[in-house]
Amino acid sequence: MTDLSSQLLLYIGTAAGLFGIGLYGFIVGPQTLRRILALNIIGAGIFMLMVVLAYRGLAEEAALTLTDPVLHALILTGLVVAVSATAFALALLTRLNQAKSAQCKPDQLRHGQEPEQ
């Protein structure tokens, strides 16, 4: 590990912050939608970290200006995965709400107060 420039540190810190916020949101909940969003924030944090690391990843061998294409590929793949997963989760959520509204609980739906499990 060589010295980290303060900028990178800032980025990493931001990524960690995003991760933390996402984690907090995910744990606290309680609405599912909020959790899905929290997961996306976590994902964003991780991708950000990866972007940063793409600069840092080859630090030992090459100049800082060179970025690591592998990581970018990974991020892209990850994004695709994350997007599809989010879409799927949202679809499921919609179905859940449909099922619930079919069971005539409109009040709860409006307020989004769905109890856990």
Partner: protein, 472 residues
């Protein structure tokens, strides 16, 4: 061969989407061809040693590399065979159980994800496989209608969370070492703090996905809510994927100090899973929940074996670990299929539905009992082999009385929940009348893996040898 194994399910899925009418046929065809291919791969590996393929001609390091050793080819074979079996079962019952048309392509995708997972030796590939597996699994769970959405959603959230944890770990590792291939990574491994954190993050993510205690909460509800063939696939195969990666990580990557620190945790978690999962299975009033909790408990064996393997480095534990995986896959598939068939025919979710099942549906009940025998570890079943290896290892290690007693206790618990159901089945005073005439074929299909797991015992020696030297 490996490429065929991956391409075939993919093509199958595509065609199924194109011609949904013949989807079941395609699924069965894919599964059977894959089984044959997997068998050939196994022969190939056993004759010529490990096989490696670099996709699309890229050099090592950049290309997606696939590597098949005897363990992974065994797992592939198991996957394909179980797919075939479950496919047949689903085909036999799909009209009655109103299994959605989505089952066929999804199960094919599942096979693809699993096969890719067994073959991958690259952290990020594994991530993709995991994610694929997770999403497909959730989709499969949600097939059984409205009542399954909630558990499926929970499953999905936690699964995604787990994946992200894993991904974070991968990112950190890549940041530190700049490689993703496990073998290369292992060579450069330094047991410092970032790698520890990364490893731990990945571990927790995988534990979450593999439903290892105490992160197992989503499993019983999800597996119980899914249709019977899906639960069989999930319990038998899907949870094994993350477990496989976990073993890869800890056996190949981790440094000695890390291993020493984490081993007691693993063993402890395994033990807790065994005991608490067993108790839950014993107490739950629902039939499928019982089987699902039993999965939680049985995964505890694998965890325990892993922990002990890390601790003592005794090859017998490796054998025990994989034998547990194999035996549990077969037995649990049989259990879920049998219980699914019984609950469908007798019409009820509660375990009391099994009353008198030994008369009304003797075959299915027999399948359950036989598979249960393997879960308990009665000789001469696969479960027995695994347990035997575990016990042998512990005795050879010496002074491990605590673990031995714990295993005895866990075994008794498993016996208790299996026979709780079996005893109910023998109730002749107050049997539950079937809603319609029981069908024979699905019952036989449920019996097949159960018989297979007992037949495993007859090949115990080669299996033990193979798995012992493998150890990943």
């Amino acid at each position: 061969m490996m490429v065929v194994l991956l391409v075939l399910p993919l093509l199958g899925t595509l065609f199924m989407l194109l011609w949904p009418k013949i989807a079941p046929l395609l699924a069965l065809l894919t599964a059977s061809v894959c089984s044959l291919a997997a068998l050939q791969l196994l022969f190939l590996v056993s004759e010529q040693g490990n096989q490696q393929v670099l996709l699309a001609g890229w050099p090592s390091g950049l290309a997606i590399s696939l590597e098949a050793n005897s363990l992974s080819s065994l797992l592939i074979l198991l996957t394909a065979l179980l797919q075939l079996l479950v496919g047949l079962y689903a085909f036999a019952t799909h009209r009655r159980d109103k299994l959605g048309a989505g089952f066929w392509p999804l199960s094919c995708m599942l096979q693809l994800g699993l096969t890719a997972l067994w073959l991958s030796r690259d952290l990020f590939n594994l991530y993709v496989c995991l994610e694929l597996l997770g999403i497909v699994a959730v989709a499969l769970v949600s097939l059984s209608g409205d009542k399954a959405i909630k558990p499926a959603l929970n499953y999905l959230l936690l699964s995604l969370f787990g994946s992200l944890c894993y991904l974070l770990g991968v990112a950190i590792l890549y940041g530190a070492y700049g490689v993703l291939d496990i073998t290369v990574l292992a060579a450069r491994w330094q047991a410092d703090l970032p790698s520890s954190i990364a490893l731990l993050l990945m571990t927790l993510g995988l534990m979450l996905k593999a439903a290892l205690w105490p992160l197992h909460g989503w499993l019983p509800a999800a597996h119980a809510a899914a249709p019977a063939p899906v639960s069989a696939l999930l319990s038998a195969l899907v949870v094994k994927g993350p477990l496989f990666i976990l073993c890869l990580l800890w056996l190949q990557l981790a440094g000695a100090t890390q291993v020493a620190a984490v081993a007691p945790w693993f063993a402890g978690c395994g033990l807790a899973a065994l005991l608490l999962g067993g108790v839950s299975a014993l107490r739950t009033p629902f039939a499928k929940n019982m089987v699902a909790y039993s999965t939680v408990a049985q995964l505890g064996y694998a965890m325990l074996a892993l922990g002990l393997l890390l601790r003592f480095n005794q090859p017998l534990f490796a054998a025990a670990l994989w034998l547990f995986v194999l035996a549990h896959a077969l037995a649990k598939a049989a259990c879920f299929l049998a219980i699914g068939e019984i609950t469908a025919t007798l019409g009820g979710k509660r375990i009391n539905t099994l009353k008198g099942a030994s008369q009304t549906m003797p075959l299915a009940m027999f399948a359950f009992a036989v598979a249960g025998g393997s879960l308990i570890g009665l000789p001469p079943s696969g479960g027995f082999l695994a347990k035997w290896a575990l016990l042998q290892g512990l005795w050879l290690q010496g002074g491990q009385l605590f673990w031995l007693l714990a295993i005895v206790l866990a075994t008794l618990l498993s016996a208790a929940y299996v026979f709780r159901a079996v005893v109910l089945a023998f109730d002749r005073a107050d049997p539950v009348a079937p809603d319609f005439a029981p069908r024979i074929l699905p019952q036989w299909l449920a019996l097949l893996p159960a018989l297979a797991v007992w037949a495993m015992a007859l090949y115990s020696e080669p299996l033990l040898q193979l798995l012992k030297q493998e150890g990943l």
